[in-house]
Structures are given as structure tokens and as C-alpha cells.
């Protein structure tokens, strides 16, 4: 018997790629799929590469496939938008080495800026789409996907969702199948996508999808559970299948593994035997719409939400709306009303003083994607827009143009981190370099991709394992940007002077702030404490919004003074610098070192 272990969906994907003889894997970090690449790095036989963005990651995997190696690229759903350009052309090519694209959707937007249903990309790109429903299938489907890819000459997309990526279930392991890598054989008719070669491929893409649809049943990717009842058939896929099983309803279920192309003739044949066919799928009616287009009388989204996770509870509620189930009579515990707990910048986060001074300056700030997106929230509320990776640099230019024409020109500020700078900020900077508008860009160079768990960036340098470092100041200089100042934001007043000065100058000014991420690099200095005799309860320190700082009534006092939790404080000093009466002082040693 093979070994059985608990794996997350992400770990299972990595294991499946290794077992299937995978060779080249690339990714850009983004929740929920970060852990796939982190797990792949544990397998010495695989080139496991963090790329600068999803487009480059996809291209690396394409190169691996061109050279005949089984290749994988993984990304979060919005990464698919970055990678769409090479993908939409790559899919025309008859695939050489098996190619699997793993995309993690985020129903409910637990850590994303949109909720797109990436399954449409598979249909758009004429490629196969598999949806696993647990970690075992996640592992197995990688090998199957690579097989389909090689057999039918197409890339295969494997679609996961956040809960599936992060949930653990039992997986039976197998050994690795050693790959035979053919190497690259030049063939311009195959690999050069220009007319007339690309014209011919339009027919090829149609034919391979039709062939796969016709042969889909033989792949045994689907599960048909015929209970004998003929009143209702559920058609479902992915995690909702497992949630539906929880309800143990006794109706027949057809669970799809291959969701594009659908095994239409088999589905028609089966559905004909049922009075009602109900499609249960997360997010958009992707399967439902395809079935309706084929003339099947199915129902679905009129009962189930188009947004958010389709949990067991939500499936039950939908079935109640469909009058298949009676309303639940379970006794319940009353849901208590409690304060929300939104995420906030960590203790010692180097973004904090920057947001604090921008808030005080009442600056209009165009935001970007990273931990610093938290500057949108209370109490800073300083970022006024948030869209997509690197978008701040274009948006700020367009706003400046419109504001000027409207006679409302004002200094505009944007913030961008080092990860985003290299992901998609470089072309934005080349574009904005010679602007005449009053624009200040603050580069928050914390030397890591912090939000996704601290992957290295080209500025990590001696704080990590990187063998080479790229200086953002040098890059900006080579783009012809002359007004660049480097500042240490833990020196609050001088950074404030630098930023406010930059905001007074026309044209592009750039301020690079250089403190590294306190969390990722575990930076801990002796903590600060409040001298209650000096504290005037003005709450200036509360305004910097650091997790250890709160107001409390000290013993024997009647009014509140500020308090710093010594275990949480990492000693960044920002609160002490904004205190108007110097009541916040540094301890000689950290609390845990005193014993």
C-alpha cells in the first residue's frame, strides 16, 4: 500500500507534478497559490523558479514545454490577466512537453482585488479545463493534465479555489516517473506564430477540442453517482461537490472533472432520464451556460449566489429556494454581535510613518498592490485608489492630465513597493519619467514581497540568499529620472521634509524609503514604553496605529493614558517621534531578554 499523508491542495499539486516527471515550474507569488511553488522548491529534480511576474513565469514554462519537458506555471486568478498575452498565442501551438497552468480563484475575495471566474480563460483559449475537488484529485489531475496536454497537443488549465488550495485532506503518494526530455527541435511552422502558420492553427484548436470532447468519457475524470432516483440530477464540480456530499441527500450527482470541453453527448443522455437537472457551481454559470447552449433544460444560478464561496450552508439554502429541501430546523446558537477585526500594518512596519505623514499632509495618494494597500483602511484612509499591480503609475498620469484640463491641478502622490516595482512598475516608470505634472512617487522598498509571505525581490540583497541585487535608484537614474531622493522613514521628521519638499516640485519626483520589512526579517529592537507621568493622553501615538499601542486606565488612575505592549513592540521608534511631550521612551533591553 502506498503511503498516505495529509496535504493541502497546493502541496498536492506540487507532489503531482513531481510524480508525473515535471521538470520546469515557475510562478509569481499570489494568494491562494503561493504554497505550490514553495512546495515545489522541496523537490531537487525540479527547476522551481519564482519569476518577476506571471507573464514571465508563463513564458518560462512555455520554454520548458517547447524543449519537450513537462512544465507547470501557477498563479492567482488576477495573474492570469498579466499572463493572458503569451497564453492566448501559445495555446495555438501544438504543445510539445506536457503543459499545465494552475490558476487559483478566490471566491469571496479573501485576499484579492476581484473575484473573476478564470474558467472562462480555458474556453477563450481553446484549452482543456480540469477542476479537482480535493487534494487527492489535485495531485492526480496534474498527471492527467500533462498526459492530455501531450496527447492532444494543448495546454491544460487546472482551476483551484482558495479553500481547496489551503485545505488538507488525505492523499496516497506514488513514486516519480522519470521524464524523457526530447529537447528542442526547431520547427518554425510549429513554434512561430505568424501568418500563415497561425492561420492553420485556428482549425487545429477546434479539432483538438472536439476530439477531447468526444473522448472525454474514456478519460474517467467524471464521477456519476446514480442513486436510482429520477426526480433530480445535480451536475457539479470542484469543492461544491464535496459540500453537496455533506448534505447526503440521496439524489443522483454527476461530478465533472473536465469542465471544458464538457462531455456533452454523455450528459445529454444521462440528463434525459431526470425530471429536473440542477447545476451547482461556484461563481459564474460557466457549466450551466454551456449546457443551456446545447439545449439542455437545466437550472442553477437562480437558486445559488454568483459571488462568494459556495459552502455547504449556501448549497442547502439554494436547495431550499429550489424547494428540494425544507428549511432547516436545527437548533442554533445566537450569533453574537462583535467588533470586526480588519487586518492592519504589523508592529514596526516601515509603511506606517509614510502613511502617517501623507495623512497629515492631506495628500491625494494613488495606491498600488501590496501590504501597503492596508493604507486604504482606518485610521489612515490615505490611499484613494487601488486597482491592479503597477497601475498607480499610469493612473496618476491620467488623473494629472484630467485635473489640469479641469483647472484643478494639484500635487499627486503614489506609492509602490519593490515587488510591484519589478512586477509591472518598470514600464510605468519609463512612461512617467518625463512628465511635466507635479507627481511624487514614493517607492516603499522593504526588500521583499511581504504580503505573500516574504519571497525575495531583486532588492533583497544581503538580507536573503539572492546572488545579485538591482538598485531601484540606479534603475530610475538610467530611465532618465533625475529627481530621486533616498530616505530612512524611521527618521520621521527628515522623511517628512523630503516628501513635502518633493510634493512642491513640478515634474516627477521619486522618494525611495529603505527600511526593510520588520515581519519577514524578524527585526526586533529594545521596546518602547509610556512614561505615564509625562503622557498627556493626547493620543498622537494612537494615530500611528501600531498593534501594541492602546489607551488604558493604569492602576490608581481615573483617565486613560497610552500603553505599549512590550511583547508586541519591536522598537521602531515611530510613536516616540510623534509624541509631542517625549513620554515614549526606549527600554534598555527587550522584555523577554530581561529574565
Amino acid at each position: 500500500m502506498s503511503e498516505r499523508v495529509l496535504l493541502t491542495g497546493n502541496q498536492a499539486i506540487a507532489r503531482g507534478f513531481w510524480e508525473a516527471g515535471g521538470v520546469v515550474a515557475s510562478s509569481y507569488p499570489g494568494s491562494p497559490t503561493v504554497e505550490i511553488m514553495e512546495s515545489l522548491k522541496d523537490y531537487a529534480d525540479i527547476h522551481a523558479h519564482w519569476a518577476m511576474n506571471e507573464k514571465v513565469a508563463l513564458e518560462i514554462a512555455i520554454g520548458g514545454s517547447f524543449a519537450g519537458a513537462r512544465s507547470l506555471v501557477s498563479m492567482k486568478h488576477v495573474g492570469m490577466n498579466i499572463a493572458a498575452d503569451p497564453f492566448m498565442t501559445f495555446t495555438q501551438i501544438r504543445t510539445h512537453g506536457g503543459f499545465v497552468l494552475v490558476v487559483g480563484d478566490d471566491p469571496g475575495l479573501s485576499s484579492s482585488q476581484n473575484e473573476q471566474d478564470s474558467r472562462y480563460f480555458a474556453q477563450f483559449a481553446n484549452c482543456a479545463l480540469l477542476e479537482p475537488s480535493n487534494a487527492q484529485e489535485a495531485k492526480d489531475f496534474v498527471g492527467i493534465a500533462l498526459g492530455i496536454s501531450e496527447q492532444y497537443g494543448m495546454p491544460v488549465m487546472l482551476r483551484l479555489t482558495s479553500t481547496l488550495c489551503h485545505s488538507r485532506s488525505t492523499v496516497a503518494l506514488s513514486e516519480r516517473t522519470e521524464p524523457a526530455i526530447a529537447g528542442f527541435t526547431p520547427d518554425q511552422t510549429r513554434y512561430c506564430m505568424l501568418p500563415p502558420y497561425a492561420n492553420a492553427q485556428q482549425y487545429f484548436m477546434r479539432e483538438r477540442i472536439a476530439k477531447l470532447a468526444a473522448e472525454a468519457a474514456s478519460l474517467a475524470l467524471d464521477v456519476y453517482e446514480d442513486t436510482g432516483r429520477r426526480d433530480v440530477l445535480f451536475i457539479t464540480s470542484g469543492l461544491p461537490y464535496q459540500c453537496l456530499r455533506e448534505l447526503d441527500l440521496g439524489y443522483s450527482v454527476y461530478k465533472l472533472g473536465l469542465c471544458y470541453p464538457l462531455p456533452i453527448s454523455r450528459l445529454k443522455e444521462i440528463a434525459a432520464a431526470y425530471a429536473h437537472v440542477i447545476v451547482i457551481e461556484e461563481l459564474m454559470p460557466f457549466i450551466e451556460t454551456q449546457l443551456k447552449a446545447e439545449g439542455l433544460a437545466v437550472q442553477g444560478k437562480q437558486y445559488f449566489p454568483f459571488t462568494g464561496e459556495l459552502t455547504t450552508d449556501r448549497i442547502r439554502e439554494g436547495l431550499e429556494r429550489a424547494q428540494i429541501l425544507l428549511a432547516s430546523q436545527l437548533p442554533v446558537v445566537v450569533d453574537p454581535a462583535v467588533p470586526k477585526r480588519t487586518p492592519m500594518l504589523c508592529a514596526g512596519c516601515p509603511h506606517r510613518p509614510v502613511f502617517h505623514l501623507l495623512q497629515k499632509a492631506k495628500a491625494t495618494v494613488v495606491g498600488d498592490i501590496g501590504c501597503y494597500s492596508l493604507g486604504i483602511l482606518e485610521p489612515f484612509e490615505v490611499l484613494k485608489t487601488n486597482l491592479s499591480m503597477g497601475a498607480s503609475l499610469g493612473i496618476i498620469q491620467g488623473m494629472a492630465m484630467a485635473q489640469q484640463t479641469a483647472h484643478k491641478a494639484q500635487p499627486l502622490v503614489s506609492v509602490i513597493g519593490d515587488g510591484t516595482f519589478f512586477h509591472s512598475g518598470l514600464s510605468g516608470f519609463a512612461d512617467i519619467a518625463k512628465t511635466k505634472h507635479n507627481i511624487t512617487v514614493i517607492v516603499l522598498d522593504n526588500r521583499t514581497t511581504a504580503m505573500t509571505g516574504g519571497q525575495e525581490t531583486p532588492t533583497t540583497g544581503d538580507l536573503g540568499t539572492a546572488t545579485h541585487t538591482i538598485s531601484i535608484a540606479d534603475v530610475l537614474g538610467s530611465l532618465g529620472i533625475g529627481d530621486v531622493t533616498v530616505a530612512d522613514q524611521f527618521d520621521y521628521s527628515s522623511t517628512k521634509t523630503v516628501v513635502l519638499g518633493a510634493m512642491k516640485r513640478d515634474g516627477l519626483s521619486v522618494v525611495i524609503v529603505t527600511r526593510p520589512c520588520a515581519l519577514n526579517f524578524r527585526i526586533k529592537e529594545p521596546h518602547f514604553y509610556v512614561d505615564r507621568e509625562i503622557c498627556i493622553s493626547c493620543r498622537a501615538c494612537i494615530g500611528v496605529n501600531c498593534p501594541p499601542i492602546s489607551m488604558k486606565v493604569y492602576e490608581g488612575q481615573s483617565k486613560k493614558n497610552s500603553y505599549i505592549d512590550p511583547h508586541m513592540c519591536v522598537g521602531c521608534s515611530v510613536c516616540s517621534q510623534v509624541c509631542p511631550v517625549k513620554a515614549i521612551k526606549r527600554a534598555e533591553a527587550r522584555e523577554e531578554e530581561k529574565a
Partner: protein
């Protein structure tokens, strides 16, 4: 029969490892297991939760409303937040840890008073553990979750040796003995507020 455990805490408290340890113990005890936990934006001091479900056959990792058997609260407010997921008269094992959420820090909301009593009045059994103090006495605040696991283990059908084995495999090598000591302290320290 499936047993449903909900683990609730604050980003940065080590919830993912805690969830993984419970899941591994249940799996090694021979049960079918599904776990889940949220990762991502919430790590930055936001609310985080995980689930462990074990039984003969478990399909979904998500716990349906009203079916929670045990709630492991790494922090009081987070323990209270999930009460509505629980079965009536089910058990909450909760650390006496209080971490103010942002709106309390900026004085826009009050932190609820006497959360153990609030949970009891909702019809839940509450076992409070001063996990932070126990951990501090053992010399490392990061042992608090292991103390809590010890307290939770009292209610679960797994032998102590299995917990200790899984701890050994899950924590850094130089902290194995400390973690095992913290676990044993936890088994001894629950303070129960009964109905």
C-alpha cells in the same frame, strides 16, 4: 459521526500550525480528516480561522453552521465571534488572551467585557486557559498554542502519546521538549465555567 473543531485567532498567532497539528493527530489516529485555514491578507493582524473535521468519512473541509463540536479560541474576541457556528451546549476551549482589534485600538469600539460569561450565556460550555501565563512561566510566550492544545486534548479521543509524537514532528527540534512540557501543562490547566 463527524467531529467538527473550529480554531479561531488573530493573524500572526500561529493558527495554521495549530490546525495542522490537530489534523495530523486525527489522521494518525485512523480517522478520515479534512482541515482548512485562511491564509493571505488576514495574516496582518486580521481575523483568522481554521477547521479540523474528522470521522469515518469527511467530505468538505468547511463546517456547516450549527454543527461545531469544539471551538478552540486562541484569543477571546475571536472565540466569541464564532459562537454561532457551534452546536448548542458544545465546548469552547479558550485562551485568556486579549488582542485589541484595530477599531478598539483607535477607540471607535469597545472590546466586549467578560467574554467567558457571554459564551456561557449563549449556552456553550467554556473552558478557559491562561495559556499566555503558563507559556511565560515555561519561558516562551510562543508556547501558548501548545498549552491550549493540551487543554483541548482532554476532550478528544486521541492518546497523549500521539499528540506528543506529532508535536515532535511539527515544531523546531530545539523546542520539542518545551512544547511537550507545555502540552502536559495544558492537559492539567482547564478552568471550566459550566452551564
Amino acid at each position: 459521526m463527524t467531529t467538527n473543531i473550529l480554531i479561531a485567532g488573530v493573524g500572526g498567532q500561529g493558527l495554521v500550525l495549530t490546525t495542522r497539528i490537530i489534523g495530523s493527530v486525527a489522521s494518525r489516529a485512523g480517522f478520515d480528516v479534512k482541515t482548512s485555514d485562511v491564509i493571505g491578507l488576514a495574516q496582518r493582524g486580521g481575523m483568522v480561522w481554521g477547521s479540523v473535521r474528522f470521522g469515518e468519512a469527511v467530505h468538505s473541509p468547511l463546517i456547516p453552521k450549527g454543527t461545531g463540536d469544539f471551538l478552540l479560541g486562541l484569543e477571546e474576541l475571536e472565540g466569541l465571534r464564532w459562537a454561532g457556528l457551534m452546536k448548542p451546549a458544545s465546548t469552547v476551549v479558550m485562551s485568556r488572551t486579549i488582542i485589541f482589534p484595530n477599531r478598539v485600538l483607535i477607540e471607535k469600539e469597545e472590546y466586549p467585557e467578560d467574554i467567558p460569561a457571554a459564551l456561557t450565556s449563549l449556552g456553550l460550555r467554556v473552558a478557559c486557559v491562561d495559556a499566555g501565563s503558563v507559556a511565560e512561566k515555561l519561558g516562551n510566550l510562543r508556547l501558548a498554542n501548545t498549552v491550549l492544545l493540551g487543554a483541548l486534548s482532554v476532550y478528544l479521543p486521541f492518546p497523549e502519546g500521539l499528540w506528543l509524537d506529532v508535536l515532535r514532528a511539527s515544531v523546531p527540534a530545539h523546542t520539542v521538549e518545551l512544547n511537550q512540557a507545555a502540552f502536559r501543562e495544558g492537559t492539567r490547566s482547564p478552568l471550566t465555567f459550566n452551564l
